[in-house]
């Protein structure tokens, strides 16, 4: 087993480098389901209230598409439905990102070569990364079983829930391992991996939205398998074998490719490029466009697809009302059928806006990537003022969210409009709702810029702020957080799209965003480059 020499030491190295990041992943992946379970225990203590909720969900293809099918109106069943599938997607992301960071990225930066010269076997880095990634999945599983059973849910279901996450982690660790073999650039490998996770999730959405007719699509998705494992709803334990089998196939494939290629090379050899720069590549902005254009395209298309899925689901809101007079009454109090559609699309664009904010943070933090790679100083040693360099990336964090929200909003509205036979009106309504989210997204752009300019060693806090917004926005209501804490999230202040929009909160958000950006720019102009 000389190809595995040094695996133990590599595992310790990865754990040392990842301890904080993995701790955060584990905490979020465990805490959210457990909190969700306690929230359901508090909010739906009697079976009849849960039955009513289940009836609502069953009549809504939109909710089913978003969160997966609800098989059992027990506390456990509701928890698995509300937190399970969405969480499984994040487990997949965790697995892919961790794998690529410790395989392809290590090769690309040359650190792998440094290790390769010591007593480290050919397969040791991949096996070490797999061990840590799958181990994290198993740890999440163990803590979830303890946590869910701990708050009083049935043990069998808790085990299924936890092991389901471990299964997803194992499969997507395999996906990450294969993706890492394909290309020389870790960014491309990451794109492939995250793309596969996205497609897998969309397959599940498509499969779950159409009832039995489309369910076979969900069976094609390793994330869809989570619902099929049926935690707390008559567990189908054999589904675990699907994850196990697929994960084994993927890992074997990755190992075979790895043993046939050189260190540093990808399965797809790189093609030569132009010998000189095109006319457009002659300014900091031209350079930034080259660095951002791939991700601009990817995020825009990805969110347009998501918009289409939500748009198609929007119609079922109307259908849901027709069969349920009680609900109709409730929603009429909330502003009638039209009000309901607005509420639904406000929630939808809220989710799209959070994802857009993730793009915005990434775009701004590209500044930090360039600085840490020492490329920023190379550019700044030319006749490029600091402010111009900062704006060349910052502009992507400001302008591209406009594009993404516009495209996703238009597609969502037009898809919904096409179904209800009113394309123009609905496209404008949802586009409007999407645009209203911009000030909140820009707050996160500004947060990232302020941190970069004033405290560059703390830039990753931007992600913490985004996660806080996600938790406050998506779980705050269910978990009955106090209003003051919900108010901390800029997204809380975005008004519902309608006839009388309160512009005051929007103006305040814009001013705050402007202030954050200005502070970041001033700080960056004054500070030392690292």
């Amino acid at each position: 087993m000389t190809t595995l020499a040094g695996t133990g030491r590599l595992i310790r190295l990865i754990l040392r480098r990842e301890r904080l990041r993995l701790a955060i992943w584990v905490a979020v992946l465990v805490v959210v389901p457990v909190f969700t379970a306690t929230a359901f225990i508090d909010l739906y203590p009697d079976p009849s209230s849960r039955e009513a909720l289940a009836a609502t969900v069953a009549s809504s293809p939109a909710l089913t598409a978003l969160l997966g099918p609800l098989y059992d109106p027990s506390i456990g069943g509701l928890t698995a439905w509300r937190a399970g599938t969405l969480g499984a997607f994040f487990v997949a992301l965790m697995a892919i990102l961790t794998m690529i960071r410790h395989t392809r990225e290590e090769e690309e930066t040359g650190r792998r070569e440094l290790l390769g010269a010591t007593v480290v076997g050919r397969h040791a880095p991949m096996v070490a990364a797999l061990t840590v990634t799958i181990g994290t999945g198993v740890l999440v599983a163990g803590l979830l079983i303890a946590g869910l059973a701990g708050v009083g849910l049935p043990l069998a279901g808790s085990c299924a829930f936890g092991l389901g996450y471990a299964g997803v982690a194992a499969v997507f660790a395999g996906v990450g391992a294969v993706a890492a073999q394909l290309t020389e650039a870790s960014s491309t490998a990451r794109g492939i991996g995250v793309g596969i996770a996205g497609v897998t999730f969309l397959l599940r959405m498509a499969g779950d939205s159409g009832g039995e007719a489309t369910e076979w699509l969900a069976w094609l998705s390793p994330i869809g398998w989570f619902s099929r494992l049926r935690p707390f709803a008559g567990e189908q334990w054999w589904v675990l074998l699907l994850w196990l089998g697929l994960s084994a196939v993927l890992i074997t494939t990755a190992a075979l490719v790895a043993s046939r290629r050189d260190v540093g090379a990808g399965a797809f050899p790189p093609r030569p490029g132009p010998a000189g720069a095109a006319p457009g590549l002659s300014s900091p902005l031209g350079l930034a466009w080259r660095l951002h254009r791939g991700s601009v395209l990817g995020w825009t298309i990805g969110l347009a697809v998501l918009g289409a899925v939500y748009g198609a689901a929007g119609d079922s809101i109307q259908g849901m009302l027709e069969g349920n007079p009680q609900l109709q009454e409730i929603f009429e109090q909330m502003g009638g059928a039209q009000g309901l559609t607005d509420t639904f699309f406000s929630a939808v664009v809220g989710i799209i806006a959070l994802i857009t904010a993730a793009y915005a943070i990434r775009a701004v933090l590209r500044l930090n990537v360039e600085e840490e790679a020492m490329r920023a100083e190379w550019v700044l040693a030319t006749a490029t003022p600091r402010s111009r360099f900062a704006w060349s990336h910052l502009i992507f964090g400001l302008a591209i969210p406009v594009l993404i929200l516009a495209v996703a909003g238009l597609v969502a509205g037009a898809t919904y409009g096409a179904i209800v036979g009113d394309v123009a009106d609905q496209a404008v309504r949802v586009l409007g709702a999407a645009m209203l989210q911009l000030p909140a997204v820009w707050i996160l752009t500004g947060t990232a810029m302020a941190l970069y300019g004033l405290a560059p060693e703390r830039v990753s806090l931007s992600w913490g702020v985004l996660v806080a917004c996600l938790i406050l926005g998506q779980l705050g209501q269910i978990l009955r957080f106090p209003q003051w804490s919900l108010n901390l999230s800029p997204f809380t202040h975005i008004p519902v799209f309608g006839d009388d929009i309160d512009v005051m909160p929007l103006a305040v958000l814009l001013v705050v965003a402007g202030f954050l950006i200005a502070a970041g720019l001033v700080g960056f102009r004054r500070r030392d480059m690292t």
Binding site: G273, A275, G276, R290, M374, E377, A381, P385
Partner: protein
């Protein structure tokens, strides 16, 4: 007016004093060697000169301007090769060379083509596929193909093979002929010895020696090996003689250069059968400063 003029420069990083009242003068048209081991303060000095970091005390002027407040204008007149060259993974070498040239305000196309050929660099490869040496070549071609007054080079030959190193030296010789000023930070003594008009040796953030090579040698010791007919012990009594080693009638020692005359007069009556004398190599100069420093420290 000096191309670079630094006096009393201080830079602290937290509790670490990276530059400790450093002085540096580089005259226009001069190739100036900036010598010191890793961590001595070479790169920090360069980063102050490029306006990438602010200094805490002292003064620094670059091409007659303030490196912090006038950075953008000054940078049109200089080209920089970083010590650690990282390329954009998806840009080709050729694109990087053009881009940096344009960001600086233009580059000389014929010069670029000639340099690509001389350094045997394929400009169509993507950044991530270049080896360390080839990344260095991209940075060198980008800097050398510009028409600027000043080149700031931080360990420019790291990773280059000996052939390319020779090519680099030729390029700098040619640039010297055109009157370009070069600040060459290096720890490769042979390179500095071959190229530089003047040398400054930096140690722990301070310049410990500065001048032309011959001036530096004058201040230091000459190594003498002699075979004598008579007992060489009178040499031991001389002041200015160091590291004396005696083997019967053979003697080897170092002597302070200003005492050389006295030593030769003492040796002459002792029946010199053979005599070898050589001035200190830069390496010896360098090691002396560092070894002395270590002993004192």
């Amino acid at each position: 007016m000096s191309a670079i003029s630094i006096s009393g420069l201080v830079k602290n990083f937290g509790h670490v004093r990276a530059l400790d009242e450093l002085d540096l003068e580089v005259a226009p048209g001069e190739v100036h060697g900036f010598l010191g081991p890793n961590g001595a303060g070479k790169t920090t000095t360069i980063r102050v000169l490029l306006g990438l970091i602010r200094h805490d005390a002292g003064t620094a002027s670059l091409l007659g301007g303030d490196p912090w407040t006038e950075a953008t204008e000054l940078h049109r007149r200089l080209a920089y090769v970083p010590g650690d060259v990282t390329l954009w993974p998806k840009l080709t070498g050729g694109e990087v060379i053009d881009l940096l040239g344009r960001l600086r305000g233009g580059l000389d196309e014929t010069k670029k083509a000639r340099l690509l050929e001389r350094f045997d660099l394929d400009p169509t490869k993507k950044g991530r596929t270049y080896s360390k040496g080839n990344r260095q070549k991209v940075a060198l071609v980008a800097a050398l193909s510009s028409d600027v007054e000043l080149l700031i080079l931080d360990e420019p030959t790291a990773g280059l093979d000996p052939l390319m190193e020779a090519e680099f030296r030729k390029c700098i010789e040619e640039d010297r002929a055109t009157g370009r000023t070069v600040l060459l930070a290096s720890h490769i003594l042979a390179e500095v010895e071959a190229l530089c008009d003047r040398v400054s040796i930096v140690r722990k953030g301070k310049i410990v020696e500065s001048g032309t090579l011959s001036e530096l040698r004058h201040l230091t010791r000459t190594t003498i090996r002699a075979e004598l007919s008579y007992d060489p012990s009178p040499v031991a009594a001389l002041s200015g003689v160091h590291d004396l080693r005696l083997h019967d009638h053979k003697v080897e020692f170092e002597v302070d250069s200003d005492r050389l005359d006295e030593v030769v007069r003492t040796l002459a009556p002792l029946g010199v059968r053979s005599l070898v004398s050589h001035p200190p190599t830069l390496e010896e100069l360098f090691l002396r400063h560092y070894e002395d420093g270590e002993v004192r420290a």
